[in-house]
C-alpha cells in the first residue's frame, strides 16, 4: 500500500469490484451468493447498499471489509488485489484503512466507552497518553463528551452505536463500513446516527459504505447500489436528504 505513489492514487478508484463471484458450500449444497459483481467507488462517496435478504449484500460487505475473499474475480483496494493478500496482510489493511460499524454494536461488555474506543489503537502500539487523547477526541466527535467512563450496559442503544462509530473513527480510516447500523435502533435514534454518518462523510471526507434495507436510511446516501439475486440491479447517484 505504501508503494502507491500520488499519481496512481489519483487515477485508481478507491474500491473496484471486477466480476466478483462468491460461492458457499460444495457439490449439491453449492450456493452462489455473488454472480459477477462490478462497481467502482471513489473517495468521498456515501454509498448505500440495498437489497432483499439473500440478495448478497452482506456477502459484498464482508468482501469489502476484507474479512472474506471472492471465489472468482478481483477486488482492488487502491489498486491492490485483496484476494492475493495473506490473512495477516488483510488484517493490516483493515487496521490501517477501514473502520467497522455493526448492527449489534459489538462493544466489549464491562469495558468503559473510552477503553472500547481506544481498542484499535492498542494494536498500533500507541502509548497510553496518546491513546486516551485520541479516544476522547473521537468520542467528542460523535457527541459523547462526558460519557467516557460508562460501560455499554449503562448507555442507550443510540449511544452505544455512537461509541462503536467513535471506535471506527479513532484510527482515521479511509473507509467506514456500516452493516445495518440502525437495525437495532428506533426511528429517532436511527435518524441521529444517519445524520452523524452523513456529517462525517461531508465534513471529514470519509468514504461511507452502508448496508441497509430501509429506504429511509438509504436516502441519506448520495449513491445507491441495489442488489437482487447476487447481482447489481441498480446503481445510481441521488441527492441526499439532509
Amino acid at each position: 500500500m505504501s508503494s502507491d505513489n500520488a499519481a496512481s492514487v489519483a487515477d485508481v478508484p478507491l474500491i473496484e469490484f471486477r466480476d466478483v463471484e462468491k460461492t458457499y458450500g460444495k457439490g449439491t449444497s453449492e450456493f452462489k451468493a455473488l454472480k459477477g459483481v462490478n462497481f467502482q467507488i471513489n473517495e468521498g462517496e456515501f454509498v448505500a447498499i440495498m437489497g432483499p435478504s439473500g440478495s448478497g449484500k452482506s456477502t459484498v460487505m464482508n468482501a469489502l471489509g476484507c474479512l472474506d475473499t471472492p471465489t472468482a474475480g478481483s477486488y482492488l483496494f487502491q489498486g491492490i488485489r485483496v484476494e492475493s493478500l495473506s490473512r495477516d496482510q488483510r488484517a493490516l489493511l483493515r487496521r490501517n484503512y477501514l473502520g467497522f460499524v455493526f448492527q449489534g454494536f459489538n462493544l466489549l461488555a464491562r469495558t468503559s466507552a473510552l477503553e472500547n474506543v481506544e481498542l484499535p489503537l492498542l494494536y498500533r502500539g500507541m502509548n497510553r497518553h496518546e491513546r486516551h487523547a485520541a479516544a476522547r477526541k473521537s468520542l467528542a466527535l460523535v457527541g459523547l463528551e462526558g460519557w467516557e467512563n460508562h460501560a455499554p450496559g449503562e448507555l442507550s442503544g443510540g449511544q452505544q452505536q455512537r461509541v462503536a462509530i467513535a471506535r471506527a473513527l479513532v484510527t482515521s480510516p479511509k473507509v467506514l463500513l456500516a452493516d445495518e447500523p440502525t437495525g437495532n435502533l428506533d426511528t429517532a435514534r436511527s435518524k441521529e446516527i444517519m445524520e452523524l454518518l452523513s456529517q462525517l462523510n461531508s465534513d471529514l471526507g470519509i468514504t461511507v459504505l452502508m448496508v441497509t434495507h430501509e429506504a429511509e436510511m438509504a436516502a441519506y446516501a448520495n449513491r445507491l447500489i441495489h442488489f437482487v439475486d447476487g447481482k447489481v440491479e441498480q446503481d445510481f447517484y441521488q441527492e441526499p436528504t439532509s
Binding site: 464491562r110 484499535p120 492498542l122 494494536y123 502500539g125
Partner: protein, 403 residues
Amino acid sequence: MILNAFLLAVREIRRNLMRSILTMLGIIIGVAAVITMVTLGNGATAQVAAEISSLGSNLLMVRPGQRMGPGRDSSGAKSFKIEDADAISKEIASIVAVAPTASASVTAVYGNENWSTTVVGSNNDYFITGNWELAEGRKFTAAELKAGKTSCVIGNTVAKELLGSNEDVLGKKLRLGSFSCQVIGLLQPKGQSMMGNDQDDTIIMPIKTVQRRLTGNQDIRMIRISVKPDINTDVVNRAITLLLRDRRHLSDNEKNDFMVMDTREITNTLTGTTRVMTMLLGAVAAVSLIVGGIGIMNIMLVSVTERTREIGIRMAIGALEKEVLLQFLVEAVVLSSLGGLIGIILALIASSVGSILMGVPFTLNYGIITLAFVFSAIVGVVFGYFPARNAARLNPIDALRHE
C-alpha cells in the same frame, strides 16, 4: 507487542475478577503445597542431621560382635580390653580422641531420693567424643583415672532427680550400691536423643572404677573414636578394622567379629529417609499443580468460546492472528504466574507456621520457590497455548456472527 498483550491480559483478568481468582485457585494450592511440603521436609531433615551431630561428629563406634540391638549375640565375640583402645590411639593417625567405655545400670541414692540410671565408665576423651560440655566443676584428673577413684560427673536429669534443681551439686556424695561417689562435675544438658531416650540421664566415672566396682571384669563394651573433622572417616575406619583384625588374630577368611559404626553413615541413612519422604510429598503436591494447570486450560477454552464475538471484533479492527494468540497465551501465563506468586506467599506463611508447630527449623529453599514459580508459568504456556491457538484460528466472519 508483548507489552500490549500483557496490558490486554491484565485488563481482561480485572474484568473477570471472580473467574480469574477461581481459575488461579488450582495453581495457588499446587504451588503452596509443593513449597510447604519441601520446606517442612527440609526442616525435618536439617533437624535430624543436627540431632545426630549432637551425638558427636565424625564419630566411629567400635563394639564386639556383628549384630546390634536386642538379642545380640556377643557370646562368640571376644570383648575389647583397655589395651585395644590404647593401641588404636597409638597406632591410628588422624584421630582426636579415643574413649573406651564400660557401663552398668545402677540405682543412685541421695538422702531420701533414689533414681535408676546408667553409669558409664570412660576417660576424659569421652567428653570430646560425646560433644559433652561441663556446666560446672571439672573433668577427671590423671590420678583419679589411674587409681579408679570414686569421682563422678553427673548429667542434668540425675542432678535434678536426686539433688533438686537449685542445690549446689559439687562435692555431694551419691551412693551407688555398695560404694559412694563424689560429684566433681555437672554436664551441660543435651535433651532427648533422636531415639527418644534422655541423654542427660547418665553418670560418668573413670573406667577403672566401673570395671572394678560395678561390672567386675576388664571388658570394654564400646570404643568411641573421634576423627579429625577434615579427615575421611572411611580411611580411618579401614585402618581401625585392619588393626583390630590383627590384634584379634583373625585369618583372612574369617569375618570380622566386631563392628565399626560411622555416625556419618547413620546420618546419611536417616536424612536420606526424610529426604525421600520430602520428595514423595513434593511429587504428590506437584500433581495438584498439574491439575491446576488443566483447570486453567478449561477456563481458557470456555473463555475463548464465550469471547468468540470479542475475538471477531478484534480481528475486524485489525488484530493479527499472532496478536490474538499472544493475548490469550499471555492471559493464561499471567493467570498462572499470579497464582504462583500468591501460592508462594501462602506457602511462606504456611511453612513458617508449620515449622513452629512441628518444632523443626524453618529453612527457606530459594531453589524450590524459583522452580515452583517457573513451573507455574510453564503450566500457563502449555495449557494456555491450545485455547489461544483455537482463538487465533477463528474465522473473523463466523466469530462476529457468533451469538
